[in-house]
């Protein structure tokens, strides 16, 4: 076992740290929510230029062919910087699912566009009335039509859809199983309601009314589709947890700095033991959260059940840590903590979103419990 960064990872981290420090100032972060489609084009171009978008893309598609551990290293920096670019939607989720496209040319072409920043992908899976995709069969229907399919249904809270060029749609096939389809974001028959999220990212509800796609748009169906979706979700969860760890570390640092500066009752409030112990608790939680990201990463190639259990255990712990750290960070900042003008409130909002995305604490507690108590092979 080796928990230290490779030279390449250290370089990645250093360059990310530099860009983040320059490009993600408080002003930039406050500016984010004013961008209608949620995408800061300038930042996205930088991501492409630095090779970040190519990181886990296969080499024959023009990517760097790196592993998820490298994405994790980068993600801690993105988390610290409060970057809400559609990195996970496009590169981690989109990249993974599109990687299963049968048509090699089409696959490499799109993945190549992902790597250059030209394509952005959003996953349209959740539907109204569901809770973290607990709804079983999709209400969205894929009906054979022409030489392909017509997709009809409603997708809710499609993360990063406003800036996407492509969407991946889950839908029920004729045989009742699930299919995953690739469609252009601007395909005819798609209408939307878009909105901002609490952390400055953007999402859409998509209304699909007989959206016509050809046969090649079906990426996978049946258990292959389920597997692909489950893998992509767990990978996304890991990348987002790494962002959460970075955000927590950032939150801790600004909080420590603040209480060393701020004076009350004639001394820096950092001298008060009660506040020191709050910071100690924040540190403990953050340290444990990082351990859990490593633990989840270590189970990436385990059996699906073991991988899911590991991701769920990590999601539970990281989510809980995120709450403790972000809430404490505000408390330590006093009244300034609840203003938009101190970065700690932005850490709070981002960590709230990161706890919820791809399953909240409650969702993963239940999934972990299934692993603990209900597995036939246990």
């Amino acid at each position: 076992m080796d928990f230290n960064y490779s030279d390449m990872q250290q370089m990645l981290l250093d360059s990310a740290g530099k860009l983040i420090a320059d490009t993600y100032t408080l002003e930039d972060i406050r500016h984010q929510r004013t961008i209608a489609n949620g995408l800061n084009e300038k930042n996205w171009a930088q991501f492409a230029e630095l090779g970040w978008l190519a990181l886990p893309i296969p080499e024959d598609a023009g990517g760097l062919g790196c592993g998820l551990e490298d994405v994790v290293v980068l993600s801690t920096a993105l988390g610290r910087g409060l970057a809400v670019e559609p990195y996970v939607s496009t590169v981690v989720v989109g990249g993974h699912i599109v990687g299963a496209l049968a048509d090699e040319d089409a696959r490499n072409a799109l993945l190549g566009q992902v790597a250059t920043g030209a394509a952005r992908i959003a996953l349209a899976h959740g539907e109204p009335g569901e809770r973290f995709g607990d709804g079983g069969a999709r209400s969205t229907q894929a009906v054979p039509s022409g030489n392909g399919f017509a997709l009809t249904g409603r997708k809710m809270l499609v993360l990063d859809a406003p800036s996407a060029t492509h969407i991946i749609v889950s839908a029920t096939l004729d045989d009742g199983s699930m299919g995953l389809f690739l469609a252009p974001r601007d395909a005819s028959g798609i209408s939307d309601e878009s909105y901002a999220l609490v952390d400055g990212a953007a999402a859409s509800d998509l209304f699909l009314d007989g959206v016509q796609v050809d046969a090649g748009a079906l990426i996978a169906s049946g258990s292959a589709a389920e597997t692909l979706l489950s893998e992509a979700s767990d990978r996304a969860a890991i990348a987002l947890m790494a962002q959460a760890v970075g955000a927590m570390e950032g939150c801790n640092d600004v909080s420590a700095e603040y209480i060393k500066e701020r004076k009350q009752f004639g001394q820096p409030i950092g001298k008060f033991q009660a506040l020191q112990h709050i910071m100690a608790d924040m540190f403990v939680s953050t340290h444990q959260a990082r351990s859990m990201v490593y633990y989840a990463l270590a189970h990436l190639d385990a059996s699906p059940e073991d991988r899911q259990a590991a991701v769920s255990a990590a999601k539970v712990l990281v989510g809980t840590a995120a709450q403790l750290v972000s809430r404490s960070g505000i408390q330590l900042h006093g009244g300034y903590g609840v203003t938009d003008e101190y970065i700690v409130s932005h850490y709070y909002r981002r960590l709230l979103a990161l706890e919820k995305l791809f399953g909240d604490i409650d969702h993963h507690v239940r999934r972990l419990a299934v692993h603990m108590f209900d597995r036939a092979d246990a």
Binding site: R33, R131, L157, F207, Q264, G335, E341, L352, D362
Partner: protein
């Protein structure tokens, strides 16, 4: 020892309920319901005050001869409980419990004649200027000063967290009139017309993107007639302490907590988990039942204070309990509201358009819950941070 509420209060409760039902404008109620806030807009506050004034309930807690109602603590409790339950805009704390009492107890005849009728009719709104950027929980370190020059005070300094200062008619400020003695003896209480030249107000954008409540007030050579001094110069600290100590149960936010708990239970019945109402899931039930028990305890701890229980320890400890647990409950309830709606909590709704549509696919009950939860993080900070309350308790209860 007996624990029955006066039976007459049940009839009164229904009277208040009927009044709210019949007199609270629907749109005002809808705004308050969506916001779920301890604040309301300036317009709603003024409009609701006029409605209450007509009924004679606007300054209910004042002495009868000044237009108050002469109710005992329990009756007042029922009154406020029902207003909150009915989603009426919150009453003006400043008018009822801060500057109102200060003026009728300590004000000059001119001050009384001018301000009390205005307040009774809901025709004046106030900004409270205590806190400063350098002093949060530490009032002794205030630095804004007022120098007596002729028959005027000239104020220079800066206040912060001044709710509604950008819309208020008048402010009451704690200022240093004597810098040669220790801070507690050099403070005075001044009334300031917010339109006086030299005053600049900046609204502070909040974590929920609201810019309508908290303000910074910059005072640069602001000239105020000497007659605007309340009581004696140098006694401001005493007056401020008197005000803060007189309000023993308000920091519990008991009415707000009860109302938002009801909302939470309704949400649990409406939201589903694997096809069943979340209200039927043992894990969520356990979480909500624990909150319910804490809420009930808070309410009965409020009642103990209102009924003047003779505590064996300093009453400050009993009051600080209300602040600590009241603010923790505000957190627990809003956190649970957010968690109940799951990923739907991530969508942002405008705090400036409270009646905005939830969205085609979205249930109405999600609107604004996250905004409220965000703002509620302040509950354990304002009015004496939780850590300060614990210092107080350790001292008052155990002499530590």
């Amino acid at each position: 020892m007996h624990f029955e509420l006066d039976p007459e209060l049940q009839a009164f409760r229904e009277e208040v309920r009927a009044f709210v039902r019949d007199n609270l404008p629907e749109d005002m109620k809808a705004r308050q319901m969506a916001a779920g806030s301890i604040f309301c807009s300036h317009d709603d506050e003024r409009a609701w005050a006029k409605i209450l004034a007509k009924k004679g309930w606007q300054v209910y807690s004042w002495p009868v001869e000044l237009g108050g109602c002469g109710w005992n603590a329990m009756k007042s409790f029922v009154f406020e409980d029902e207003l909150y339950k009915g989603f009426a805009p919150p009453l003006s704390f400043n008018t009822l419990h801060m500057i109102g009492p200060i003026i009728y107890k300590l004000g000059s005849q001119e001050q009384k004649d001018h301000f009390l009728p205005l307040m009774r009719h809901g025709d004046v709104s106030w900004a409270q200027g205590f806190s400063e950027p350098g002093s949060g929980s530490d009032l002794a370190s205030l630095r804004t000063r007022a120098d007596l020059v002729g028959d005027k005070y000239v104020i220079n300094g800066q206040k912060i967290w001044t709710s509604g200062a950008h819309e208020a008619d008048w402010g009451f400020f704690l200022v240093k009139t004597d810098t040669t003695c220790k801070p507690q003896l050099g403070m005075s209480f001044l009334l300031v017309d917010m339109k006086t030249p030299g005053i600049t107000v900046r609204t502070i954008p909040q974590i929920n993107n609201d810019e309508h409540h908290l303000c910074e007030v910059f005072l640069e050579n602001v000239e105020v007639p000497a007659g605007n001094l309340i009581g004696e110069a140098g006694k401001g600290w005493t007056y401020a302490k008197m005000l803060l100590e007189g309000e023993r149960t308000g920091s519990s936010y008991i009415f707000w907590n009860k109302r938002e708990m009801r909302r939470l239970l309704d949400m649990a019945r409406a939201e589903k988990l694997n096809g069943n109402p979340i209200a039927q899931d043992p894990a969520f039930r356990a979480r909500l039942a624990a909150i319910q028990a804490e809420l009930t305890a808070l309410e009965w701890s409020v009642l103990r204070v209102l009924a003047d229980e003779e505590f064996t320890y300093g009453t400050a400890a009993a009051s600080s309990v209300l602040k600590v647990r009241g603010s923790e409950l505000q957190h627990a309830i809003t956190e649970a509201q957010v968690d109940l709606i799951g990923e739907k909590s991530l969508r942002v709704y405008s705090v400036h358009d409270l009646l905005s549509d939830a969205g085609t696919l979205w249930p109405d009950h999600v609107v604004n819950r996250t905004n409220m939860a965000l703002l509620t993080r302040a509950a354990t900070i304002f009015g004496g941070a939780k850590q300060v309350q614990k210092n107080i308790i350790a001292k008052a209860a155990f002499g530590l």
